[in-house]
Assembly symmetry: C2
Homo-oligomer: 479 residues x 2
């Protein structure tokens, strides 16, 4: 924050003392977000937005690789259009912002600010799809959406948030299902290989699925405090929206058919996941792929001749390949160390007069604090290796932390005891009845996160009612 300039970085709340306060401290002190004068809406500051830009670049490349095209839809949905699909309007109407006036005049029909854009895409698809030759249509848009949330938290739940929403239309149910699963895989790979966050892939129960979908798939991640964060979802709509919006095509036999649709999204919530999975008591810890600064060069005794020149030389050596910054401000090195630790920069490179003499530098890893002496002769390869090591280290640590806190429960007392006393997730069998799901939520506040792809036969019986079990479910408290 601007008012910290010139003084040493103040300590933030410790994670284990007060995780919620720690989270807010990190978000503000790492300058990711500022609050705005609009209730529940935040400002993405340059450092926070730069992380989002890197996420966008990574995902957008994957969407294009898998044959998707970007478009831009209006931000407003006429009320009558929102109402066309029954389940969808029931799910979203209670939480939308309504525009009722344009200038000084009252509108004849209210417009809602998009909470999601299925209805707009369907309306467009009904207009542009006529023949099987027009299929598939695989569109995506990057935008912000609005949901009138009462209680909000930076990145996790806000009135406005930024995301991408993919919307596709296919000739057959099989193609739509394959697309739904493919995009969940794209998300899972991105979280694991770029954000260093292990995820559990699974299907949502009917109670938890998207309003209007026949099936919702999810990737669920575990945060430092043991709570789950739904990190990306992919929905198969079947032909429900197509029937509501009359999206038909003539097939090769010249018969009219309804299209089958999907949608899928990842949002700025993913930044919340990065913070809560990798962060520590010194602040943010960023996976190298998204870090706006991957290497910060801190000159030591920078008033001594040659030091700043050498720092600049190392920067120009690295910057073709990495995102590098030299901090040659007049702050003390210790202050700079603390500041870039707060900001989660993966590698700090220290260079002083003695290092120059020895043709070396010191590199400190943000993830584990390790300091390594590196020869300047093969700096680029070393930096590349160390960034990979940081990524791998973060992933391994997150995976161990998660796996050590996934429990199994075979009866309801055990289940309740775990939820009450052990932060983490619980695997337990379920009969498939929504009544059990609701009872569990009421008794414990844990919700069904998903029915994982990797099913295990923990017992034969539903953990709640004791009837025959149909699925293994992962349960947990969630953001």
């Amino acid at each position: 924050m601007a008012d910290n300039k010139g003084k040493m970085v103040e300590a933030i709340t410790s994670m284990d003392e007060n995780f919620a306060q720690w989270y807010t401290d990190v978000v503000l002190r790492a300058e990711l977000i500022d609050y705005s004068s609009t209730r529940g809406c935040t400002i993405l500051r340059p450092y926070g937005y730069a992380i989002w830009e890197n996420i966008q670049k990574g995902l957008d490349a994957e969407f294009k690789r898998t044959g998707h095209e970007n478009v831009a839809m209006p931000m407003f949905i006429p009320e009558s259009l929102l109402q066309k699909e029954k389940d969808h309007v029931e799910g979203f109407a209670p939480e939308v912002a309504w525009v009722t006036h344009g200038g000084t005049e009252q509108l004849t029909e209210r417009l809602c600010v998009r909470p999601t854009s299925e209805t707009l895409f369907c309306d467009h698809y009904a207009h542009i799809i006529q023949s099987y030759r027009d299929l598939p249509k695989k569109y995506n848009q990057w935008c912000s959406v609005v949901r009138w949330e009462k209680t909000t938290r930076p990145f996790l739940r806000s009135v406005e948030f930024w995301w991408q929403e993919g919307h596709t239309a296919h000739a057959t149910a099989e193609e739509a299902q394959a697309e739904t699963l493919q995009m969940l895989d794209v998300y899972a790979d991105f979280f694991e290989k770029k954000l260093a966050i292990p995820v559990i892939k699974g299907r949502k129960t009917d109670k938890e699925k998207f309003a209007g979908a026949i099936a919702t798939y999810t990737i669920e991640a575990m945060m430092h405090d043991g709570k789950a964060l739904q990190s990306g979802t992919s929905h198969n709509f079947g032909d429900g929206f197509a029937k509501a919006f009359n999206i038909q095509y003539t097939d090769k036999e010249n018969k009219l058919q309804y299209v089958h649709q999907t949608s899928w999204g990842v949002s700025t919530r993913s930044i919340g996941a990065i913070i809560m999975v990798h962060g520590d008591d010194n602040g943010l810890v960023l996976p190298p792929f998204v870090a706006p600064i991957q290497v910060v060069i801190v000159p030591i005794a920078q008033h001594k001749p040659g030091v700043l020149d050498k720092a600049a030389e190392l920067k120009s050596k690295l910057e073709g390949k990495f995102r590098v910054k030299v901090d040659d401000s007049d702050k003390m090195p210790g202050w700079k160390f603390a500041e870039y630790e707060m900001k989660g920069v993966p590698l700090r490179l220290e260079i002083g007069p003695r290092d120059i003499e020895n043709n070396q530098c010191i590199i400190a890893r943000r993830d584990n604090g390790e300091k390594i002496t590196v020869s300047l002769d093969n700096l680029e390869e070393e930096v590349e290796k160390l960034l990979q090591a940081v990524h791998d280290g973060l992933y391994r640590k997150a995976l161990e932390s998660r796996d050590s806190r996934i429990y199994k429960a075979t009866n309801y007392d055990e289940f309740k005891d775990i939820v009450a006393n052990k932060p983490g997730l619980v695997k337990a069998m379920w009969c498939g009845d929504v009544e059990c799901e609701m009872k569990i939520k009421e008794d414990t506040t844990a919700t069904s996160r998903c029915m994982p792809y990797e099913q295990e036969q923990i017992s034969d019986k539903c953990v709640c009612c004791g009837k025959e079990a149909k699925h293994m479910v992962i349960w947990g408290k969630a953001y």
Copy 2:
């Protein structure tokens, strides 16, 4: 359009017969835009959005090169915040969309959907700027904004449009003025060097300046029909907003000072300019920098052995450096030619059995129809040269077309005659009084486009009232 599939491309309205209809035909038939069910809002289709993505990439690199950082602000502005700067609210309040309800509940304060974000940036700057060390702040955001326009046209005037808005805060008036002019130069260079559109740089009269600015600078381009299009603007706010929002910093002498601010923007209107400057009776003509497809490869007699393989080979040869597509669909080559001409693809590469025998191909330029036989041995260099030639050809043609239609008027009869009878722009002297500006608009519908940087002394007297002249103004009918 989807319903054209399988038949030959239908002719569009001729430009000279009905320019407005030609424009609409091109926008729809090149699949840039579709109308939506939300009044005055359009959909940017994949081909239109890809042009916008290329514009974004080009401008964003320039913004970063000149030291700007991207952020994201809320889309809503509380009414009380919009009202803080008097001129600004007067300018924008009559044309904003108002959110009055969140879910089922009426808001205690209305929110407007941002028509522009000065007030949000000021509110944030007041929060984060304390000391001279915090300056300058040079932010930009890419987003859409909303203005409740009554009559709309794709890209040129719509209820929602996409743009970037830069907002900066500086310690001194001189720095703010330098920033204002620098960003106008960035825009002018981008239009000329990337979009091949010549522009006139100048300052707006007080009547035409931005609501709340002390000076507005503009780049004005001439469309095929002789009308002007304001293509980018850069505003110097002085310390007016700073005083209204109390944005102060302590200087090096520890005294409180107000910041000096600027803002500047370019929008999807620029796509309208591309269409109306370069387009012809065969459709869109795209400058290579923004073309989603720079080279389309059309195989000739593609059922003959080796043709499709060769087409694929040429594609893989070119695609590292250029945006290339092979159209191997079963449509007739003539249909493909017409389709990619409609879409404005700069180069069409034809490859057939005889070409393969001769180790050559035919390349047709979209800008002038020229067909060149090119050896496959140095294809990459030839394509590079030809793309540059297309850019240069487009720019030269646009410049000649514009310069041949800029007239000079030394008396009012001459002025009125030119505006009435000669499509184009008129240079004439002006006394500086708003009364003359308003009389000219009322008498002729021409408005003052700008006071160009390059002033000429056409006469001593105001073309309207005959009093002493202060500035040369460019006048014209405008979009």
